[in-house]
Every structure is written in structure tokens, then in C-alpha cells.
Symmetry: C2
Subunit: 441 residues, 2 copies
Amino acid sequence: MTGHRHRVVIIGGGFGGVNAARALARADVDVTVADRTNHHLFQPLLYQVATGILPEGLIAPALRSVIGKQANARALLAEVRQLDLDARVVRAVAPDGRPVELPYDTLVVAGGATHAYFGNDAWAEFETGMKTLDDARHLRSHILSAFEMAELATDPAERARYLTFVVVGAGPTGVELVGQVAELAHKVLPRDYRSVDTTEARILLVEAAPAVLGPFHPKLRDYTRRRLAKMGVDVRLNTMAVAMDHDSITVKGPDGEERIPARTKIWAAGVQASPLARMLAEATGTETDRAGRVAVLPDCTLPGHPEVFAIGDMVALNNLPGVAQPAIQEGKYVGKVVRARLEGDTEVKPFAYFDKGSMATIGHLHAVADARGMRFTGVLGYTMWGFVHVLYLVGWGNRLGTLYTWARALTFTHGRAHRIITVDQARYELTADEAGLGVSR
Amino acid sequence: MTGHRHRVVIIGGGFGGVNAARALARADVDVTVADRTNHHLFQPLLYQVATGILPEGLIAPALRSVIGKQANARALLAEVRQLDLDARVVRAVAPDGRPVELPYDTLVVAGGATHAYFGNDAWAEFETGMKTLDDARHLRSHILSAFEMAELATDPAERARYLTFVVVGAGPTGVELVGQVAELAHKVLPRDYRSVDTTEARILLVEAAPAVLGPFHPKLRDYTRRRLAKMGVDVRLNTMAVAMDHDSITVKGPDGEERIPARTKIWAAGVQASPLARMLAEATGTETDRAGRVAVLPDCTLPGHPEVFAIGDMVALNNLPGVAQPAIQEGKYVGKVVRARLEGDTEVKPFAYFDKGSMATIGHLHAVADARGMRFTGVLGYTMWGFVHVLYLVGWGNRLGTLYTWARALTFTHGRAHRIITVDQARYELTADEAGLGVSR
């Protein structure tokens, strides 16, 4: 024997990784969760950080504290460089450049996803995605800076460019973001500006498919589209982004091509699996799919490597959507499989997804919820959405803090307590590709 | 006549600037407040952002919303480049590089201060100051990263370097910061770490003077020193920082020179007035003092320029301390002078400072307060400190949010809800001067 307990190394402290770790709390194993940040990010509420509603900390508890009470688990901050499946060791690097080696008996890879520009990687320079707290900080400061610059602009065309916001992609993230940008422009900011009327802002939602919120029931899709229109959002269906530069985005729809002058383009159209998926595919001689995801067997293991699991957004399995629930359920499932194996039970059922439904907010007090045949809209949908999301946050302190912050944001003053542009951000935001001011940290 | 209302341009949205603007709320003037950020920063609580207690938004409401209800005032985001006192115009630049010209009839310069390394500007590379939200974000991520690296270190000397925190300067900021670093190491973090015992952290407070909290009553100074010692802080009085590099700081005290291996050095020893002070001094042919502050007349105006006021930390007047109260009172005073002049009253009394006292926290539930001959320590001092600071926050939403967050932090779990290291920060923090990983934004 090797003289040590069974070692489970989990890469990624998101929904998949944390749930896998928790499912092993009482197992006779040593669990290590490695992540390139120190927090467990609750991505479904990231758009609220990006639009000044919630502070970062409430949706990003320290990974250490999330698994702090689990005696057999530890967290560490390191970015993975290599997965050596033959030697059964993960090679990573810590923030100070130190190499970190993590030998394992079981490996769980839950690296998530990042933005995908479908071959137009140069767009990353002009567009803002939303997957990390860095993205949310950047997006928040970018949106707020655009209104600031509009206030200073003297040329009407220039002012219009600053006051035009284009969200590409009408999935839940795109719908929720565009709704909050509309709230900012129409409800939150008007009273604070003197030269510019922020309600004149032009807010577009561009979607290649013929409907918003594709996977939802048609009634909810229609409701969402009407509700967005009522909020002043120009929804363009069957329309694709075809070109982009610093000052504009060009879209192609049923009426042909249109170049829309716009300084703010927000990408919510597609994700690309973490590069870890490609590493795993290469190690097993398989290919990743178009979204960069690696194929796994029905028990979430890698072909030929029963000791290696891959879960969450970076995995192509049963065509599951890239949201929290599949990752959470796969994480719990993997924990169960590992426990069963340790007890000598190698015959485990394949992973089965239980669809709890989908939800999305559409601005102030409105949401749609589609739960196993039941459909809710408006304030009722919003209440359900709020209840479920608060419930899934980690810790009562964060739950109460979020309820308090929402109560502030929902009062008639439409408070947005976290409208931050720092000195460094002000110097950077709108001049990233200009020679003007220097970028300092 | 010029056909416009009397124009008051205020540079800086800190305590001085905002209070000057508010004091002019009912005057027949147009007020413009320009700042290089979009928020009104409550600096006395910045150390709580830097140590993970408070989220940024609660101490940094948008400047626009702070003066949003004041019909005669507007805010704008621009960094000042030139003060043209002859032409009576301020020349600034917006985040997108756009030049912004602000003609004035009355100018109020309230640019505050930044760190000063007393001729050792190269230290800025190794040390972390604390004046802006960028500083606080950086410091928080730096402190947390040091514990993360200690957890990964295998060499005892290296681990000790990461676990040594040296705060230079024992004024209120230094004392409050070092107290919170001690809280983190001894109370908050221990249960979350597996390999390293964070209570072994070495925490030093270095002060050139013979006492901590110099301006406080000797009894409070002694209390603070004893309390810090009880918290495990190694207080070195009559000791100066004489050298610094990436891995260490060298201090010189009564027992000679000592090189202390330490990755984290926090600068709370001195401030330098905003460069705007030098601009004003040059424009009037005067010199700034050692701290870069410009001299003003007893009515806060510039010699030869009764229409130009300078207030707050960037001004040398009656040897006032660089804290909030002088700036607040000077702001209000300037507003009163401007109003009086508009009513034809040019004979105004010189500015008189009303000393409300001083306060500082020393970690968990302890503080010292020195208020007009009355002195408070311990929980009573802490309660007074908390009451006064919450009262001075802007808006009931932020006051309640802060009370809630403190209640979380003060419970037996010592919760720190905002322990954030982002992807970009993890890649950057401890490798700023190393070739290792790239810095991306």
C-alpha cells in the first residue's frame, strides 16, 4: 500500500468542484480543491455585480471558508498548467511562480467555461464578457464610464455612441444584463445627470435565433420579448454580429446589414470550455466539440481513465445546458461514485440529470420561471427567482446581506449602492486602445 | 455682466469638496464638482475594505448621487491637468482623452493627499499604500495572497517571509490596519488553513516617534500599545524603515539595524499633498512645505487670489492634522465665505478649527477615543467610534448595510465576507517584479 489515504484532487472551485468536495465530506479520502482564484463564485448573480446592485463578496465567499469546516478537505490557490494522466499528477503554478504538484488517486476536473467569440477572437479587444469578477468589475466601470462620457460629450453623434449599449446573445445572461442596463438608463441614473438625458440611451439585444430565452416555453419567450420592448430594449431577432470596432458593431438581420455606432458591446452569446477540456481530450486522443468541450462517458469519466472525472460547463454530456444545475448535480454524483468505489461497489448507474427548470429576471420586479411544466411571470416569477437564488447562496450572512441589498435596490429610489469607477479604471476604461493616459494598477 | 450665474468649480469629491458643494446648496451659484473617480470615498473606513470587512460600495457612494438632489450642482469625471489662474479656467482630461475646460468665478481646490516615501520613491514598488479603492483592492489581495503562499511554501524561511507583515507608521491608519491584520491571522483565518498555522504570523508595527498614536493623550497611547502587544503585534518605537526590497525591510531602532524578512510591507507613515498643491504654489510664486502642501491665508484663499480656495490635506494651515474633520469644516467654511461675498459681505472671520477629538480602533471591539478632555477605551470607545463613523457615512442604506456587515464581522465566527483575490490579481499580486506570469486586466 502507498501509506496514504485515497487522494481526490478537484480542479475548480465552482459549482461542480465544491459540490464534489462536499459529497465526499464523510468519505475516507483527502480532498484538495485547487482554483486560480480564492473564491467560490455564484455566477448566476454576476450580472448584478456588473450593474452595481450587489457587492462582490456576497456572491464570492472564500473557497477556504466554504469548505473550511470539512476536515478532510483543503483549498489552494494555483493555476493548472498540465494534467499528467499517466503519472497521475496535476502540475500547477502558484501566484508567486512556485510550481505546485498534486498527485492524485482520483481526479475531478471542473474548470468551467470562458467567453467564445466563434472565431472572432479580435473582438475580445472591443467587447466585454462576463465570467469572472474581473469581468464584472470591468463591465461595471465600462458601463458607468460610458454615461460619464456622454455627459461630457458636446457632439450629438459622439454622445449617441456613448449612450448606445448592445448586448449580443439573448440567453438568460444576455436578458438579465440588458434588463439591468435599461434599469440604469431609465430609472437609476436620470436624476443624477445634468447635461444628458440618460433615458435617451439606445439599448439593443441582438440574437441570432428567432426568439429570446431559446430553451424556455414559447409563452415565456413572448412575455420576455414584450416586457423587454416595454422597458425600451430594441430586441433584434434572427440577427448576428458580423463586425466590430472601437466605435461600432455591425449586425446582419432580416433587413440586411446595419452598422450601429456604439462604444459598449457586451458579449453574452457563447462560451468556450476551459482549456483544461482540450488538455483532457489530447491526453485521451479524442477531439473537443465546437465549444471546446471534452466528451465523457455516461458516468462522467474520461474514456480509458475511470479515475478521471470531468464535469460542468467544460463537458459535452447529453447536451446539457451550461448553467449551474448540471454542474451541481454532476459534482454530487461524482462524490457518490467515488464513495461507492471505496466501498467496493464498482457498478454505479450513469449520471441522470434532474431538470429543476429555468429562470431569468427581466429588470425591476419581473422574471420568468419555467419549472417542470409550471410557468410563472411578473412579480410572482421574480419572487420565485429571488427565493431560489438566495437559497443557493453560501451562508446565512450572505443570504441576509443579499436580501437587504435587494430591498434597497427595489425601493422607489432604485438604489444602486455599488457604482464604482476607481482611479485606475477611469484612466483605463475608454482608452484601452488609445495612446492617451497610461494604464497603471 | 457675463450673463451667467456665479460659477463655483470644486476640484475633488472628498470630504472638503462635497462639504463645500453642500454648503452652497441654496446659494445663487452653479456648482461643478470634478473628480478623477466617480465616488465620494469615506477614507476613515478604507482599512476595512483592505482587510475584507466592508464592501467598497458602502464607503464609496457615487458622487453624482451624493449631490444628486442638489439642483445647482453637477459632478463630472475628469482628471485635472492645469489650473490657469489668470484665465480663470481649469483644464482637465476625461477618461476617453477628451479635454474638459471648466471656467470659474470661484475655484475650490480640494485634491487631498497621496502616500509619501520621504525621498525613497523606489519603495513604492515594494510597498502598499492606502489612499484609494485601487490601493485597498490591491492591499486586500496582497495580504490574502501572502497567506495563500505561506500555505504552499515548503521551506520554513520562505513561509516565515510570507507570514511576516510590517506596517510602517503608528498613526490611526497604521494602528487600525495592523490591528486588522492581527485579527485576520489570529482569529479569522486559522480554521481555514491546513498546512500553515496562521497564528504564527509575525506582525510588526514600526514607528519613528517614541509612541503610537502621537497626537492622542498619553494614557490612550499606553493603552493602545499594551492592547496591540496583547494581540500579538510587535510594536517597535523610535524605529525607522531604512531600506526595503522584495523580500525584506530593514529597520533601525534603539538596538541597531535589523533586516526583517517580509513579503508584505504596508505604508502608513506619511502622506504627500496632491500635485495640485504644487500647481497652486507655482502659480503664486510660493513654495510647498516638506509634505508638498501649499500655504493659504487664514480664510483658506491663495495669496493674491481671493477667488481661489484650497482646503483639506493639501493645505498647510495652522498645523491641522490630515484627517476628515479639518477638510469637512474647511469645506463648510468656504461655502459660507462664498455665500457671504455674494451678499456683498467681504469681511469674513478667518477659518477656526473646532477639534471634535480623535478616535482609532485597535482590532476586535476595542478602540480609543479622545474627545475634548474625555477619554474612552475598550468596548465603550469602540461603540463611540462605531456610532460616529456610521453617522458620517452618506445615506441610510449605507449606514444600515455597514451596521449589518459589522454585526457579521463581530460575531464569534469573525466573518470576513469580502476576501477577494480575482484571477487577474492572483496572476499579479506576488509576481509584480518577477518574470513569471503575465499581467492581464
